[in-house]
Symmetry: C2
Subunit: 442 residues, 2 copies
């Protein structure tokens, strides 16, 4: 039977590399094994898993992805991006609706303890069971957070678009809504798949030899078509894009859709927006595109950005949240769970920790990167609250504590704006209230 895992972190292993298929073969003989990298943008499979999917040493490289091979041309088991992993992902056991429902309920409990009252689910796969699981969890009163469920719009799998049900972003109610159409433009820096103008700094790998400046998971043409379609049908689009070039390709598509079919206030989003250029920020301002940043990134991975991936200069400009705010871009912060996870003692994704990261911009090794991009604690709070509410068209409903808004609020043991910035990560959530009801108390 299949052994499927999530969260392989090559940088967390002593060897600083992925396990190989041979190591997995030895560890779990007789089982197909498939372990996803923490970034979600790569995976490692053992020999049985590769064989089950029909992936062989002779398989051609897929567009927008990469299957690593060793010097002899033999697959190592590492599969980068969806196009490489798809043959396996397609044959993996599909979680049942009940399992998904229990999953979101469990997550909701954890999230309550971290003071989270609303989530933007950036990966609600467009299958009927996804929405049914959410509906049931909400209807049973077991999921308290408000959910903005982005439609994981992989081509051929973006249910609501393809079936053209006439639904659009915002459909639903304050408990559960259809969110943006989510599309992936590029990948993850940590697996060399973000699209940059300039090459990665480590070029002696199988992956970077083939793709020295990363990959585009969707070609500009595919992206244009999808964004134009989604935009014209009334959807917000949320484009995962992190490399400087990947972000520009995303903005090109958004610009074209808005030029071709103008409509008021579409609020398209760039997710992560990690290495956006100054001009990219100006374009975002002009287009009203929201920048959604993942501040924890600088703590977890910036040291490796510097040593292995993009070098110090580019790393120091990662997550330019201060510049984004100065440029007039609506600047949102997210926790990117499950890339890091709420409650994970090593890779925590708590929003207060995210604020700490954005305020201090310190790496695990203790280096302050791009200090000019540090933001204030209040700017961090706004990025996780009112600006996030704006990003789901709900700024009049929530995101601040005001008469007439939903009674979603939390109680902290001290004021993050008053403590020493270094202490923000120690601030405790004492109580989480959603719709006036306490869902967590310490």
């Amino acid at each position: 039977s299949w052994i499927v895992g999530f969260g392989v972190e090559d940088s967390g292993l002593e060897e600083r590399r992925f396990p190989t298929r041979d190591e997995l073969d030895r560890a779990a003989p007789g089982h197909p094994v498939y372990l996803k990298h923490r970034s979600g943008h790569a995976a490692v499979a053992n020999s049985l898993a590769l064989a089950a999917a029909g992936i062989t040493d002779q398989s051609p490289q897929p567009p927008g992805g990469h299957m690593d091979r060793d010097a002899t041309g033999r697959l190592t088991g590492v599969l980068r991006e969806k196009s490489a992993a798809a043959p396996i992902e397609k044959i993996l056991p599909v979680p049942t609706r009940d399992r998904m429902k229990e999953g979101v309920i469990t997550a909701g409990r954890l999230y309550a303890s971290a003071g989270i009252t609303s989530v933007h689910d950036a990966g609600a796969e467009a299958r009927p069971d996804t929405y049914r699981a959410y509906h049931e969890a909400v209807a049973e009163g077991r999921l308290h957070q408000r959910v903005y469920a982005m439609i994981w719009g992989w081509p051929g799998n973006h249910l609501y678009l393809e079936k053209d049900l006439g639904l659009r972003t915002g459909f639903g109610d304050e408990r559960l809504r259809l969110g943006a159409v989510k599309l992936f433009v590029d990948g993850s820096i940590q697996v060399f798949t973000c699209a940059f103008y300039d090459p990665y700094i480590t070029l002696d790998t199988d992956s970077t030899r083939a793709n020295p400046r990363g990959v585009l998971q969707l070609t500009p043409n595919e992206l244009n078509d999808l964004v134009v379609e989604a935009h014209a049908k009334g959807f917000q689009v949320a484009l995962h894009a992190q490399g400087d070039y990947g972000i520009d390709v995303a903005l090109d598509a958004i610009q074209y859709a808005m030029w071709k079919a103008p409509r008021p206030d579409p609020r398209h989003r760039i997710e992560h927006c990690q290495c956006v250029t100054p001009e990219g920020l100006r374009r975002m301002r002009r287009l009203g595109v929201i920048g959604s940043f993942y501040p924890h990134h600088s703590w977890y991975w910036a040291d490796r950005h510097i040593s292995t991936f993009i070098g110090e200069e580019r790393a120091s400009r990662m997550n330019p949240m201060k510049s984004a705010m100065r440029a007039g871009v609506v600047t949102v912060a997210h926790s990117d769970a499950p890339i890091a996870a709420i409650g994970d003692p090593v890779f925590g994704a708590e929003p207060l920790f995210g604020i700490w990261c954005a305020v201090n911009r310190t790496t695990r090794a203790g280096k302050v990167i791009g200090p000019e991009e540090r933001i204030t604690p209040m700017e961090g709070i706004r990025a996780f609250t009112i600006n996030a509410a704006y990003a789901s068209f709900e700024e009049r409903l929530k995101g601040s504590i005001e008469p007439g808004k939903l009674a979603d609020l939390i109680v902290l043991d001290r004021d993050p704006c008053a403590v020493d910035p270094w202490e923000i990560r120690d601030v405790q959530v004492l109580r989480t209230i959603i719709g006036g009801r306490t869902v967590f108390a310490r």
Copy 2:
């Protein structure tokens, strides 16, 4: 029989508008009439011509073009851009090879009198007779100018690409070479078809009601495909793009082709580049894209730009040649014949007049527009000589008077760099020498 003309200039008529189909019907009863606008980006047809092409009041608007209709929905006969005019252009009598040959020979004589020793033919339609006509004119010793024949790469008609002959830009010799693949991204400001981020200022026309920000003759996807194909096959591309948005779309496609298939020094070009933004210039510098400007434009049409098309602010930033040079963009000037024509007493296209235009930036009405973009006479000379040679990969062969280079030179009656800038247009060409041989003397 057909009456076909070129050079309708609505701004030159008292009525400041195109003639209508009815006026043409009355003027030439019994003949199909088709008159192209001076810009080349529109035409007016009479009723017989429309009928012959099967264009009716019920015909749908073509993508990337526009057929004007009056308030009752009746066609006026004005057809904007290739997609609208194609049904007629396809049935027009095709000039014979001999006629084309005599045409280029006649043009060559005129050009010699204006001191022109080399031409970049930006519209060598990709038909075998085009190249045969050139070959014969050169072989017979009756065409003296050196020709860089750009391949008019309309989709479905870009012969050398489609047939994949393995030829590429530069193939040929110093007399006649294959040039860039020429593609049209947007149109002409004077017929409201350049693609801008912001609308035209005259919006109560049939054309601007439908396309307030102009048109893209090729969608970004079509352009990406063509540019990627041409670039990957070793061609330079020369993209006609004039509006700020049209130019950005052109740069997006060039960027993508170069990202996807890097090769050294492709020297892609933006033709006219009229309303490029400062950031566009920075991108051009990064990509090594050449800016090819039409300086005469500010004299002939800037007054109408201000009053009718794009308003004073955008007009004052037209043809930012000084900014382009400062940004490090290789800056070329062209005469754009036959839009204006060498030897035409009213719409002259002489290079020395172009230098005068770029140095003075004065409109017909006597207004100086964007004085900060004025260049020096020597910069103007370089734009028409060594930089133009660079744009055809021939800067080591010609473009300056140096030992070892071709003996292509002209003699003037005074030094354009020494006279009063206002006098540059009066400088006379006394002698034109190509390959050491005098081909014109006054």
